[in-house]
Symmetry: C2
Subunit: 218 residues, 2 copies
């Protein structure tokens, strides 16, 4: 049923299901079981069914799910059936990669501006969008109704950029800078920490095979 609040763990997996459904559609598969979709999404089928049950009852017992229909329902639930204008601040290699990344300019998202403090790069075109001055942030946010800001600056600039975003009215921030941002309660920050992920892998790798130079793991 829709009225209930969807668990956070489920919300985090909805984008994965959406991608799996898209790839099934690419293969002209119009219908699938929870088992098939779960495999495509890399989870087990019980979890998938429980997750979907939080959105509503969109499958058919004994049959499975209609791929197109389920995709629409999940899209709607996430909010991708509406338009989300996004600004990216910090157009180094990472900002460049993000601007070109398909997930950032499709399916509900639209990059409306690329901002950088470095004057020498202003006017340069990246992914069909000119780099503009960071000072234009407020005006751009008002003009396009931007609700989501992406920070791809060095860590040293991130808090100041974030403060400006909030002053401009942005309340959802995706932070790629390796630093904790402090924000008011009503602002939502998600942090993508590239080096944390490497470190987590290293931790597990270390447990798997006791390494030559390290202590012996019990």
């Amino acid at each position: 049923m829709s009225p209930t609040r969807i668990p956070e763990a489920t919300v985090a997996r909805l984008p994965v299901y959406l991608r799996a459904l898209n790839s099934l559609l690419d293969s002209d598969i119009r219908s699938c079981s929870s088992e098939e979709l779960a495999t495509a999404a890399g989870v087990n089928s019980a979890k998938l069914r429980k997750d979907l049950s939080h959105l509503g009852s969109y499958g058919t017992r004994g049959v499975g799910y209609d791929v197109e229909y389920l995709r629409y329902q999940i899209s709607r639930e996430i909010g991708l059936t509406q338009d989300w204008p996004v600004v990216i601040v910090g157009i180094g290699n990472l900002g460049h990669a993000l601007a070109n990344f398909s997930g950032f300019s499709s399916r509900g998202f639209r990059t409306v501006a690329l901002l950088d403090a470095d004057e020498s790069r202003h006017g340069e075109m990246v992914a069909g969008c000119p780099i503009r001055d960071f000072g234009e942030l407020g005006q751009i946010v008002r003009e396009h109704g931007v609700a989501i800001g992406v920070i791809a600056t060095p860590a040293s600039a991130a808090q100041a950029v974030c403060d400006q975003m909030i002053a401009a009215g942005i309340r959802s921030v995706l932070n790629f800078a390796p630093t904790v941002l402090s924000v008011p309660e009503d602002v939502d920050v998600r942090m993508v920490d590239l080096s944390s992920e490497l470190q987590i892998l290293a931790y597990h790798e270390q447990r798997k095979a006791p390494h030559v130079d390290g202590e012996v793991v019990a």
Copy 2:
């Protein structure tokens, strides 16, 4: 105490604590309470103390933690006191950004090779490392004892790259391509999904403020 297995949620936060400790050291702060460190890391102090209690008893009651000492203990626990040679495959904008990213070439990690299938880019220097042919993967892995591979290719190439990595002996993979990888049980894959993060933000943003064009949220 160390012998017990550390909870996954705790492992995922250790890198955050490590960064917080580094930034305290940068400010010449040599000692801190759980409250201060928790604030710097963006968590609450009860969680921080519980997390640290899984590693051992490295604080002093009534006083707090020695920043340098705790940093060393966490580093050791994660495995950053040993050397982790890394290969990055796919040197587009994202691979470029990763190669230049400080977290990828410091604190235990060392990028030993950048590989790309595009011949025209071979020999090009990125972050002080030449781009080499993907076919050299096996040899490089053997030569340097690479245990961690990073995939920054388009989704269409990711599974093939992953298969080659596994054939070469890599058992920990960090995947930036937006696709699920299928791997044997003993291989550890972590997926960093840039567009999922945006979608999760959109979901919450949608709940915050019922938008003009969408359905009314109850």
